[in-house]
Symmetry: C5
Subunit: 98 residues, 5 copies
């Protein structure tokens, strides 16, 4: 999985019928130290994530292993909202202290 | 999914029989700010997209989760035409204002 | 799919039994303007492609969706020979004018 | 598979129900000479790995081929703890000599 | 598939039970002209390859399409030992002339 921040959303009325009513989130990938990268993915939301949340995204066929994305032409899913993470014993991010 | 603009098409008469009569679109990948990247993918059209449209493409096995691409040797599909998207509260693209 | 030119082939007698008698083609990836990239893939031929042909390659599990590659340890397949393609209304490549 | 060192972990209470109670590890990818790369992956632990361990990670659908990750929206798994490895006849890493 | 040379091996006693007794090879990726790249993959051996052999590796779900790797958390497999290959009509590599 990749760490990403939800920075926006995509509106599409003409899309595969399997994805009607699905939120399409613009997710900016972050490195493991919490710095934003020049890389993004548009992902379907499976956990009720909102703008600004740091999340985990899963890619490929794994993105279809949720009730919402099963058998859909979707190659990226937000499958977790991050509360916190640490690297080398140091807290990198704490949701509630933002 | 990736954001891409349809910039052309590929003609092929000698191809896997599962893909006969399928439109093969040349899609230039764009970043999440709407700038074109030096990266492209040739994708099968599943939503009736046309030249110049900004679309979403799905890759890998997820590209086969449409009626048109099911069980076909196709690793990229256009599965949505973008109406608009926004990043950090700012509208990046609006189809009808182009 | 990626655009590639077939530039060579690989000979292997000691390989997975599912791939005996399969042609293994060295394919140099091209960008969407037709310029060769410093990137290649070795792919199984599913359409009778020959040296010098510009083709489309499919990767990953999609590479196994042909009669020839089904259930084989093969992650890239040549699934179309390109006749022509255009970008931004300009013809980039025409097979018969080469 | 990639060689990686476990450098941290991610805490998430709001995640896909299939991944409740699963440890999410921050894994920094290493090159084959043992040097850390500026690349990471968040992976589910399937072998009881701990902070500082050098491990192998598997990606994509292969990450779901463990009892713990089966049918889960998980695209990376720690599936081995490395005891040692060698390159060109030289020992690069020995767990018990660290 | 990618061209790679087997440069080493990984020892792991604590790994997914599906991969017990499987050889884990460190494979350095080569370009199509035979030059080593700064890229590697750890792959399961399915063809009896040895140190120094030039081989083909398959990635992703295709890596599980051998008797040895079926349903295993393995995303790379050595599925062919290369005898020779040529590019642009020139022999790049000949196993028996090394």
């Amino acid at each position: 999985m990749q760490i990403a921040r939800i920075v926006g959303s995509v509106v599409s009325t003409q899309k595969d019928e399997g994805l009607l009513d699905r939120k399409l989130l613009v997710c900016q990938v972050h490195d493991h130290q919490g710095a934003p990268k020049d890389q993004y993915v548009v992902a379907v939301d499976a956990v009720g994530a909102g703008l600004g949340d740091l999340v985990l995204t899963a890619a490929g066929s794994s993105a279809r292993q949720t009730t919402i994305t099963k058998d859909k032409p979707c190659d990226a899913v937000v499958m977790a909202i991050i509360d916190s993470w640490d690297v080398d014993g140091t807290n990198v991010y704490e949701k509630w202290s933002e």
